[in-house]
């Protein structure tokens, strides 16, 4: 698991998973969409509590490797301010066959999204902003229902 303030480079990260025993590579990327729940998004800010995001992310990856016969698995998440189109999170998995690569890639991104201490604040084109998922956080402008994110 890695957390980075710099742009994620999926091609470079993929290359680190190359292995002659691998028959399948599945990569997932979460990109900043220009809309969420009917609102036009301008940019996003990710707040990450790094020590626990790293340890919890490592746990998730270790779980995936235990559940599925993988060769390699890795995940990188951005922190800080991101523009539309930027890659917020990357997951890459290699294995002998494709079943486990798809399943493990999906497992990792699903768990990363619900378990790692990472928060995102959306800044909208109309000027307001809000923390995603935080309907009842008593914050101004946080009127989002349960977020459906990528």
């Amino acid at each position: 698991m890695d957390i980075t303030k710099d742009p994620i480079e999926p091609d470079r990260l993929r290359d680190e998973l190359i292995d002659d025993r691998a028959g399948a590579y599945v990569g997932f990327e979460g990109w900043i969409r220009n809309h969420n729940e009917g609102q036009d998004v301008l940019r996003l800010e990710y707040e990450v509590y790094v020590p626990l995001a790293l340890s919890e992310g490592d746990k998730v990856i270790a779980e995936a490797k235990k559940k599925f016969p993988l060769l390699h698995a890795e995940c990188v998440h951005r922190s800080g301010s991101l523009e539309i189109g930027e890659c917020a999170v990357w997951v890459g998995v290699t294995s002998a066959h494709r079943d486990e690569a798809f399943a493990a890639c999906r497992y990792i991104i699903d768990q990363v999204k619900v378990r790692l201490p990472i928060w995102k604040k959306e800044h909208y084109v109309d000027g307001h902003s809000g923390w995603v998922n935080c309907e009842r956080c008593a914050e101004h402008g946080q009127l989002h229902p349960e977020a459906v994110s990528p």
């Binding site: 626990l52 995001a53 999204k113 201490p117 956080c137 990528p150």
Partner: protein
Amino acid sequence: MSKSITVRYFAGFREHAGTDQETVSVAASTAGDVFAALKHRHGSTEPLGHCKVAINDEMAEWDSAVNDGDTVLLFPPVAGG
């Protein structure tokens, strides 16, 4: 009995509290007690199950015991990815 607990606030909780960290004296047996006692600070009416907590940089449960001197990290609903 009151305990001295250092509380760390994240994301919306931090913005509501106006600080990222403070040390408070609270009568609390569990992490959940700390969350409840500090409702006026983090401002959240979220169900506990939507939020997460860590004690001394280890993920914890809301019924985990807190001890005098512990640091309790209050996490609003996460939204990675």
